[in-house]
């Protein structure tokens, strides 16, 4: 059982390769196998999260570590550390849900089933490995594992403009990855020069005090730490994405098949955000501090920008894609605030956004499957025909607009509080996302579900089937559960995040009962 | 000037001749011969150094090179025969197109 994390990480990919080797007659069973394997992973992940000791002083639990390339200081090093726990659980849960929710897509052949199942499982390994890796190089390998399957899936099974989508997606993310690789090499090299033996463990590198010189040009970007910050930042900001690195997002999300859209929006974007939380901030605290205001402004701008663009979209999936940009910007805003509650709120928001965006893309899949189109003008009045779909969609909408009591609110509230402590004006701009978010989500809802049902295409639209209902019920339970009792979900991360926040911003306390209020805000 | 230096100069001269032949001549057979010339120039250099430094490594290396050179000319000549069959010529001017 000491290798449990290895099992969690590698089981999906192993199953994926097994599926590729299946005989032709077994091809149509590949999806069942994939769901089965991902469910096992989910069970293991949940078991691990229950066994995780919140009170333990040990930063790494279920630690698996051995040398891999000693010459370059590379280890095979997986561990749960509280920060990655929610994301591991989320990834392992969303994968089977995504499979089940998109079960009855039309026009799925056996070969297509086999390829999609295998590639998505390999992506799951990439995502879980990225979250669990405690060695920078291993992190990079898992990070890149996702790229190729994703490229293939969009390129083969994407929409009409898949060529453009794959080109943009690949060029952007690969450019980011390459810069990160250079950054890793440089970082480990500097580490080797200082200590004498190379070590790519994130924890070792955290203690490496790299010089940051605010006078080094471009506000310190040209100092060692600044350049490394930029190299790693490029990868994370593109993946998340942070405005203005988002150009690949809309086309890619729009053209990808539903299952891949879910993976991109719910899990890949979290890899970027997690990279910021786990690597960028702890390794380059001074640089993050120096660029914090700029990055926060960009994030706040991204919130408004994504929302504005989502408002005027005439296509369901594109609107959802831009809404994702807006919501991920909230996560980044919380991270760049570098306050414990902001980072914790962001971590929770990553999970929330993963859940709600999965719901939204699943709804997109449901609509597409039933109508054969995603143009909003083709919809209207579906609530009469599909009350269950309407209800499920409403729950997702409420979480997306951050209604209190849904998961979405908790994270956004914590993020806004933290951001407010850094800068009131940026927070005010960011908070307008609440209103704009409601505008586009209610627009989407109204244009699909409300109004008269135009029966010129079919007499009746089928309501959700059993599998689809089950998927949405699980998502809905998580939305309400997180909204009503967020502490249950945040408790495991608390120690790790607070520790990390203490390292990067030591002066960090609000007035308490003893000390009466003073002037603490920079508003 | 010692014998060794003279031999080095000879080796360099032979090497340059081979190189010039390789660049200037268009006949593939002659080009192969030029390659042989360059290899032998290197052999000469190896032997000279071996003698100079009183080590056997250089001489061992020469045997390797002679073996590989033989293999190389065998492979090269057989390719040439095939080239001649498909192009009707072994002049490099006529074989610039890689795919037909």
């Amino acid at each position: 059982m000491s290798q449990i994390l290895s099992w969690i990480v590698l089981l999906p990919a192993l199953t994926g390769f097994l599926i590729l080797l299946l005989p032709k007659s077994w091809e149509t069973k590949s999806r069942q196998i994939a769901v089965f394997a991902s469910l096992i992973v989910a069970v293991l992940a949940i078991w691990v999260s229950q066994e995780f000791d919140i009170k333990s002083l040990e930063p790494y639990q279920f630690h698996v570590k051995f040398d891999w390339v000693p010459m370059l200081g590379i280890h095979y090093d997986l561990a749960l550390d509280g920060m990655n726990l929610p994301l591991v659980v989320m990834t392992s849960l969303l994968t089977p849900l995504a499979f089940i929710g998109t079960w009855n897509q039309t026009g799925v052949t056996g070969t297509m089933q086999r390829r999609i199942a295998a590639l998505v499982l390999i992506m799951e390994t990439g995502a879980l490995g990225t979250f669990l890796a405690q060695d920078l190089f291993l992190f990079y390998i898992f990070w890149e594992t996702i790229l190729l399957p994703c490229y293939l899936l969009i390129g083969i099974y994407g929409g009409a403009e898949r060529g453009k989508a794959t080109l943009q997606f690949f060029l952007y993310t690969f450019a980011g990855s390459i810069m990160m690789l250079v950054g890793i090499a440089w970082l480990v090299h500097s580490q080797a020069q200082i200590t004498g033996h190379p070590d790519a463990s994130i924890q070792t590198l955290m203690n490496l005090k790299l010089p940051f010189d605010a006078t080094a040009g471009l506000g310190g970007l040209l100092s060692t730490q600044g350049l490394l910050f930029a190299a790693f930042g490029a990868a994370f900001f593109i993946k998340a994405p942070l405005f203005p690195f988002h150009a690949w997002l809309a086309t890619t999300y729009r053209q990808a098949p539903t299952l891949v859209s879910i993976y991109l929006a719910a899990i890949l974007s979290k890899m970027g955000a997690y990279g910021i939380l786990k690597i960028l901030i702890p390794l380059f605290p001074e640089a993050t501090h120096a660029f914090g205001p700029v990055l926060m402004s960009l994030a706040a701008f991204g919130i408004v920008y994504g929302a504005l663009l989502a408002i005027v979209q005439s296509d369901f999936k594109t609107a959802v894609a831009y809404s994702s940009l807006s919501h991920v910007s909230y996560i980044l805003l919380g991270l760049f605030s570098m306050k414990a509650e902001g980072m914790g709120g962001s971590l929770l928001q990553m999970v929330n956004h993963g859940i709600s965006i999965t719901g939204l893309f699943l709804v997109a899949g449901f609509l597409d499957k039933r109508r054969g189109s995603l143009a909003l003008k083709d919809f209207g009045g579906w609530a009469i025909q599909t009350p269950v779909l309407a209800t499920a969609f409403m729950v997702i909408v409420l979480s997306t607009v951050a209604l209190p009591g849904s998961g979405g609110f908790v994270g956004e509230f914590a993020i806004l509080i933290a951001a407010f402590r850094v800068n009131g004006y940026i927070t005010a701009v960011a908070a307008t996302g609440m209103v704009l978010g409601a505008v586009y989500m209610l627009n989407l809802y109204q244009k699909t579900m409300f109004g008269p049902f135009a029966d010129d295409y079919v007499d009746k639209v089928n309501d959700l089937d059993f599998r689809e209902i089950a998927t949405m019920v699980v998502l809905g339970l998580f939305i309400v559960g997180i909204g009503m009792a967020p502490q249950t979900f945040m408790a495991p991360s608390r120690a790790a995040v607070e520790e990390s926040a203490k390292r990067v911003s030591p002066e960090d306390a609000l007035p308490t009962r003893q000390s009466l209020p003073g002037q603490v805000s920079n508003f | 000037m010692s014998t060794a230096t003279l031999l080095h100069i000879l080796s360099a001269y032979l090497f340059c001749m081979g190189m010039l032949g390789l660049i200037l001549r268009r006949n593939t057979i002659v080009m192969l011969m030029s390659i042989e010339l360059m290899l032998n120039a290197v052999n000469l250099s190896f032997v000279t150094f071996a003698r100079e430094l009183a080590q056997l490594n250089g001489q061992v290396q020469v045997f390797f090179i002679i073996t590989i050179a033989a293999a190389e000319s065998a492979v090269g000549l057989s390719i040439l025969i095939n080239v001649y069959r498909s192009f009707g010529s072994i002049k490099t001017d006529h074989t610039t197109v890689m795919r037909s």
């Binding site: 409420l398 627009n443 967020p486 | -």
Partner: protein, 643 residues
């Protein structure tokens, strides 16, 4: 009196409607095989029963409070504890909450009961009752929470239910539009609420009311706390339909009438008033803000009155009347008369719920007709509805002994006599009272008196609908006796005649008016107000009877239908937003951002095309470049070594 007592009552009061919601939302539809097959009697019965239980518990809490404690507290759980953020969900009933709870559950029960008959023709009525129960849950959470964050839970929760219920008949595009408008306008206000919470939390480190009150010291950073006050006031203008965010309330009448009665008259829209009463300690820090509040209230009262006159739809008259009455409440809040505002909140809940349910009965009796111009002479065919509406009208106009008389006159008295009061506020209040008389009598005249119009005769509603009317009529008539002014009380030798003030004194602030310093004594104010109201009634019955805004181009453009505020928002907020979004899409996003990826691709292709030329396949050329390169490298090495 004992201090705070731990009790599970707050939790029980809160949870019962939620159980009702769950039953109606999940269990009943599953049991009856689909939401469309649910029956009004069963669903409505469950929902009403849940509310009744909640009401009984609320009454029990009231008696506990009146006998032996100041507040009942229910300790919930630690909602979040992360970094500096630590908030618990605890419930608390003090005297203000108790009053609100009884209003919500009491009137809620009546309206649920009424709906059983009103919605009897609807398909899938379980959805309606589920939403209604959910609303009551959210509203109760709003008043029972002991901190601002969970008040906000309720605050947004009621907004959600309002959205769901306005769009109840969602097949009509207009209803869905109205619902969205209500939600979005409220959201704009809620933006202020969230930012206000941020300010308060960062300044005080807590959102708990009692702790906030304790930590606000006279030496605190008043500037930022005032900012929090401004933001919360902004939130209240959204929820409580004050100028400039009142525009959603008239449109919200698209929902079923019981919804208008419960949500858009009696309870939800008064949330802002409750917030002010609860957070008076914060708002009082900034007299400037309170002056703005009072003038906003006065302006809203006037504007609501004028707009009510311009309406032809019976529910819209009542909607603008609600706007106007809420203006009165904010006027009272602004001058510091928090208890008076709560008093008017209560009487308004009685008489406006009555008027709405009466209007619902009229609409039901006229088979869905809402246009008053098509009604007339209904007094004969709908006697109970007529009489109860008459009593409600007397209450809203403020005729003596009716409930509105006491509460509105107290507001007018405070508008003049309180330290922040003045003749302008008083005058505005009087004009609004006059307008109340005019539009009320106009509504009654057009619907109940005069000749019957073609096709619409009306029929009296079933007892399920008239019983709540009668109960509410009794409350609307006698509810004002809870707040008999001190001067009248002394005539009868009663020391504490103003029961409500006595009840609220420990928890809600009230400005003091010293009898001598007031420009007019309270009785004189009452006399003037009654005179003005009666003048309004007479004017409305006689020479303003045929008033019609449609005949004047200017007035009709300003006040009829999509009135000037709607036009303003449409052309100065909504249109620019969409214009901007479209232009960003067309220029920056698809033009610039969309092409970055393309440019990288084009760049690669372009350079590839050029570099391809070097691959001629000429071996001699390749050899030459190899040798040249080699020579170059060797040359550099030689220079390197030499230097």
């Amino acid at each position: 009196m004992n201090p705070t007592v731990a009790s599970s009552l707050p939790f029980l009061i809160l949870i019962v409607p939620l159980i009702g919601f769950f039953l109606n939302g999940v269990v009943i539809p599953l049991a009856s095989g689909g939401i469309t097959k649910t029956k009004p009697t069963i669903s409505g019965g469950i929902a009403t029963f849940a509310m009744a239980v909640s009401f009984v518990l609320a009454v029990q809490a009231f008696f506990q409070l009146s006998s032996n404690s100041t507040a009942l507290e229910y300790t919930g759980f630690r909602w979040i504890d992360f970094g500096n953020l630590s908030i618990s969900l605890n419930l608390r009933i003090d005297r203000l909450s108790s009053l609100m709870t009884m209003i919500i559950t009491g009137i809620g029960t009546l309206i649920h009961f009424y709906s059983i008959s009103y919605m009897s023709h609807e398909k899938g009525v379980a959805r309606f009752f589920a939403y209604l129960n959910l609303f009551c849950f959210a509203m109760l959470l709003l008043v029972l929470s002991d901190n601002l964050l969970f008040l906000f839970f309720g605050w947004e929760g009621v907004g959600l239910c309002s959205y769901l219920l306005i769009s109840y008949w969602y097949e009509e595009e207009a209803n869905a539009d109205a619902a969205r408008k209500a939600f979005l306008v409220n959201r704009i206000g809620d933006l202020g609420f969230v930012l206000g919470m941020c300010v308060l939390y960062v300044q005080l480190g807590t959102l708990n009311f009692a702790e906030m009150m304790a930590r606000i010291s006279p030496t605190a950073a008043i500037g930022l706390l005032s900012l929090a006050g401004v933001l919360l006031f902004f939130a209240s203008t959204g929820k409580s339909a004050q100028f400039p965010l009142y525009v959603w309330l008239p449109d919200a009448m698209a929902g079923p009438t019981p919804v208008s009665a419960l949500i858009h008259a009696a309870t939800m829209v008064t949330a802002g008033v409750y917030l002010f009463a609860r957070m008076a300690f914060l708002f009082e820090l900034s007299p400037e803000l309170m002056t703005i509040v009072s003038y906003t209230g006065a302006l809203t009262a006037l504007l609501g009155g004028i707009l009510a006159l311009a309406q032809t739809d019976i529910k819209k008259v009542l909607a603008y009347s609600t706007v106007s009455q809420l203006g009165f409440m904010f006027l009272a809040l602004g001058v510091g008369a928090y208890q008076t505002a709560v008093f008017h909140l209560m009487t308004h809940a009685f008489f406006k719920a009555l008027l709405f349910l009466g209007a619902g009965s009229v609409i039901h009796g006229c088979d869905g007709e809402q246009d008053m111009r098509k009604m007339g002479g209904l007094a004969k065919s709908m006697p109970i509805t007529f009489v109860t509406m008459l009593l409600g009208s007397a209450a809203i106009v403020g005729l003596p002994i009716f409930s509105g008389f006491f509460s509105k006159d107290e507001i007018l008295y405070m508008a003049l006599g309180a330290p922040r009061g003045n003749w302008i506020l008083f005058g505005a209040g009087l004009v609004a009272a006059f307008l109340t008389g005019v539009y009320t009598i106009r509504m009654l005249t057009q619907t109940f008196w005069g000749p019957s119009k073609a096709g619409i005769h009306g029929h009296e509603s079933a007892w399920i609908m008239t019983l709540p009317l009668v109960i509410l009529a009794v409350l609307a008539t006698f509810g004002g006796f809870l707040g008999i002014p001190h001067e009248i009380g002394t005539w009868f030798g009663v020391e504490h005649s103003h029961l409500l003030n006595a009840w609220l004194d420990p928890v809600v602030q009230q400005v003091n008016v010293a009898g001598e310093s007031a420009p007019l004594p309270e009785l004189a104010v009452s006399g003037i107000a009654v005179a003005v109201a009666i003048f309004g009634l007479i004017a409305g019955r006689t020479f303003l009877k045929n008033i019609s805004f449609e005949n004047s181009p200017l007035l009709s453009r300003l006040f009829v239908g999509q009135h000037f505020m709607d036009t303003f928002y449409a052309s100065w907020v909504v249109a620019p937003l969409y214009w901007m979004s479209r232009h960003i899409i067309q220029t920056f996003e698809s033009g610039f951002m969309g092409n970055i990826g393309g440019w990288i691709g084009v760049g690669s292709t372009w350079s590839g095309e050029r570099l391809r030329l070097t691959q001629s396949g000429d071996i001699q050329l390749s050899m030459l470049s190899i040798v040249t390169g080699l020579a170059f490298v060797v040359g550099i090495l030689i220079i390197w070594v030499a230097v």
